[in-house]
Amino acid sequence: MVNYIVRRLLILPIILIGLSLLIFAMISLLDPYTRAALYVTSPPKTANALNQIVVEYGLNKPIPVQYWNWLTQVVQGNLGWSKTAERPVLQAILAYFPATLELALWSFIPIIVVGVWLGVQAAIHQDQLIDQVARVFSIIGYSFPVFVFGLLVLMIFYAKLDWFPPGRLSDWADLIVSSSSFHAYTGMNTLDALLNGRPDILLDALRHLVLPALTLSYIDWALILRVTRSSMLDVIRQDYVTVARAKGLKESDVINKHARPNALIPVATVGGLVLVGLMNGVVITETVFDYHGIGFWIARSALQLDVVSVLGVTLFEGALLVLANLVVDVLYAYLDPRIRLG
C-alpha cells in the first residue's frame, strides 16, 4: 500500500510540470502586452508602464527563460492580475471558491443518495419496468444539455411560478451577509448562516441553491445509476450471495448487508470523480443561474478575453484534479486490495 502511494506520488510532479508547460505554451501564443498582465498585481497606471513591464519581466526574452520566470512567479502564488475580478487572480480564486464548493457539495449529496438508490432498484429488478424506466431516464439525462435544462427550470420555477430565484442570495440577505455584524467563517452562505444563528438567511440561501443544485445533479444521477446498476448486477451473481440466500437469509438482508457494500466500491471511485467533475459543470450552471462562483467568473473572463484569469483557474483546477485523482486511486486501492497488484 505504501509502495503504491509512493509510486503515485513520484509521477505527480511530472504531470504538474507537464500541466504548467501546456498552459505556458498557450500563454506564449499571446502578445507580450497581454502577457504583461500575468506579472503584475495592480492595473497599469500609464501606457508607458506596460512597456516597462515587458522589459522588466523579460517578455521579449527567449521562451525557456520566460518559462522559468513565469514558473517562479506561479510557485510563489502569483498568477497575475484579473481584469474581470479587478484583483489578483489568486485572491479572486480564493474569493469565488467557497461559493462553488458550496454548490458542488449541495449537488453531490442528492446525486449519490438518489443515484445509488435507483441503481440498486434497477439491478434487483433487472429488465423489469423500473429497470427500463431507469435506463430511459439516464439516456435522456445525459442527452440533456445543462444550459437547456437550466433555462427550462428557470422558465418554469422562476419566471412562471416565482418559487426559486437565480443568484446566490436575495438583496436583503446579501446586505446582512456583507455587513460587519455577520461573520463569514467559511464563505459558504448556508454554513455561515448556521454558525451565525440566522435561520432566515439559511433558508434564503437554500432557496437559491435548489435549481442550480438540481441542474448539476441530474446528469450525474444517470452516471451513478448506471455504475451502481452494473456493479450490483455483477455482485448479486456471485457465489457468496447465493450462499447467503441458501442459508435462508431474508432477501433484504442479502441485498443490504451482503451485496450492496461490495457493489459500492466502484461507486466510491466514480463518486470522487463526480465531485471533481462538478467543477466542469459549474461553469455553465453558474452562468445560467447568475451564481457568482468560479465558473461564473471564468465564463465571463473568457468572454471578455481576460485570458490571464482563465489560464490561472485552469492551472488551479488542473492541479486540483490531479490531486483528487490521486486521492481517489489510493482510496480505491484501500477499498479493493485486488487493485494494488496491478
Partner: protein, 305 residues
C-alpha cells in the same frame, strides 16, 4: 447485414434514434429549400454581417425585444430579431458539421499517437503517455474554454474557434484506447509471422495492426458525435464557440440568457432551439447505446470517460 448494423434494429429505442437521425439529416440536406418554402420572406432578407454566408441568420430589424411566432416567423424571433426558424433549420447543418469534423480530427490524432506509442513502446511510449496524461488532467470543458479564449481572437470566424478548442483536448481519450488495443494485437501470432518473413514496420502497422484494432473503435468514436455537438453548443452558449449570429443552436440559446425573468412570455426563444438540440443528441445516444450493447455486452450501461 453485419452484427453491429443488426443491433440497431433490435429494440424500439434504437429504432427511434435512427428515425430521428434520418429526420435531422434530411433537414440538414434540404435546409435552403425548407427555409424557402416555409418562410419565403425571411429567405429573401439581407444579412448584415458577412452577407452571402447562408449560415448567418437573417435579421428582421434591430429591436431587442423577442417577437412571438407569426406567419412570417413561424418560430418567432429572438433578441435582435434573429429569425428562430432559420437558425434552427440551418443549425442542423452546423450540428452535423461540428460533430463530424471534431470526431474525425480527434480520432486521427488520437489514433496516430496511440499507434506510435504502443508499437514502438519503450521511451516513446513513456513520453507520449505522459503527454496524454497531462491533456487528460484538465477538466475538459474548462480546457476547451481556455483554448477558445486563446485562439478565438486569432481565428475569428464561424465555428473554427470551437472546433480547434474541442479537438485540442478531445484526442487523448482515443490515444489511450487505441494504445491498449494495439498492445494486445502486436503480440499476436500473425504479427510475429509477418515480421518473421521480413515485412517492414510501416507495412505491419498499416496492413496488420491498424485494421484489427480500429474496427470497433471507429464505431464507438462515431457515436461521440452527439457529445461533441453538446459540448460545442455549451461553448457557444458561453459565447466562445460559434461567431455571433451564426446558425448554431447553442449560440441561439445564448440570447435567452438576457431574458430569464420574462422567459414565461418568451418561451419560444428557449423551447425551439432547445428541443432541436436535445433530440439531436438523444438520437446519437440511443444509437450509441445499442452499438455498445452489441459490441460488448459487459459494457451495457457504461459510458466511456
Amino acid at each position: 447485414m453485419p452484427a453491429w448494423l443488426r443491433a440497431l434494429f433490435k429494440n424500439p429505442a434504437s429504432i427511434a434514434g435512427v428515425v430521428l437521425l434520418i429526420g435531422f439529416a434530411l433537414v440538414a440536406i434540404f435546409a435552403q429549400q425548407i427555409v424557402d418554402i416555409v418562410e419565403p420572406a425571411v429567405a429573401q432578407m439581407e444579412v448584415v454581417q458577412s452577407p452571402g454566408n447562408p449560415y448567418q441568420i437573417p435579421r428582421d430589424g434591430f429591436t431587442s425585444q423577442p417577437q412571438p411566432p407569426s406567419a412570417t416567423h413561424p418560430f418567432g424571433t429572438t433578441e435582435g430579431q434573429y429569425d428562430l426558424f432559420y437558425g434552427v433549420v440551418w443549425g442542423t447543418r452546423t450540428a452535423f458539421e461540428v460533430g463530424i469534423i471534431i470526431t474525425t480530427l480527434t480520432f486521427i490524432i488520437g489514433m496516430l499517437t496511440g499507434l506510435f506509442s504502443a508499437y514502438y513502446g519503450g521511451i516513446t511510449d513513456l513520453v507520449l503517455q505522459r503527454i496524454v496524461e497531462v491533456f487528460l488532467a484538465f477538466p475538459f470543458l474548462l480546457a476547451a474554454i481556455t483554448a477558445a479564449a486563446v485562439f478565438g481572437p486569432k481565428v475569428h470566424n464561424g465555428i473554427t474557434t470551437g472546433i480547434i478548442a474541442l479537438t485540442l483536448f478531445g484526442w487523448p481519450g482515443y490515444a489511450r484506447i487505441i494504445r491498449g488495443d494495439v498492445l494486445t494485437i502486436k503480440e499476436r501470432d500473425f504479427v510475429l509471422a509477418a515480421r518473421a518473413v521480413g515485412v517492414g514496420d510501416f507495412r505491419i502497422v498499416m496492413r496488420h495492426i491498424l485494421p484489427n484494432s480500429m474496427y470497433s473503435l471507429l464505431v464507438v468514436a462515431s457515436l461521440d458525435i452527439g457529445t461533441y455537438v453538446l459540448t460545442f453548443a455549451a461553448l457557444s452558449f458561453l459565447g466562445v464557440g460559434a461567431a455571433f449570429g451564426y446558425a448554431d443552436w447553442g449560440q441561439i440559446l445564448s440570447f435567452a440568457h438576457d431574458w430569464i425573468p420574462s422567459l414565461a412570455t418568451y418561451w419560444y426563444i428557449v423551447v425551439y432551439p432547445g428541443v432541436a438540440l436535445v433530440l439531436y443528441v438523444l438520437a446519437w445516444n440511443l444509437i450509441g447505446d445499442a452499438f455498445r450493447d452489441a459490441l460488448d455486452p459487459k459494457m451495457r450501461g457504461m459510458r466511456g470517460g
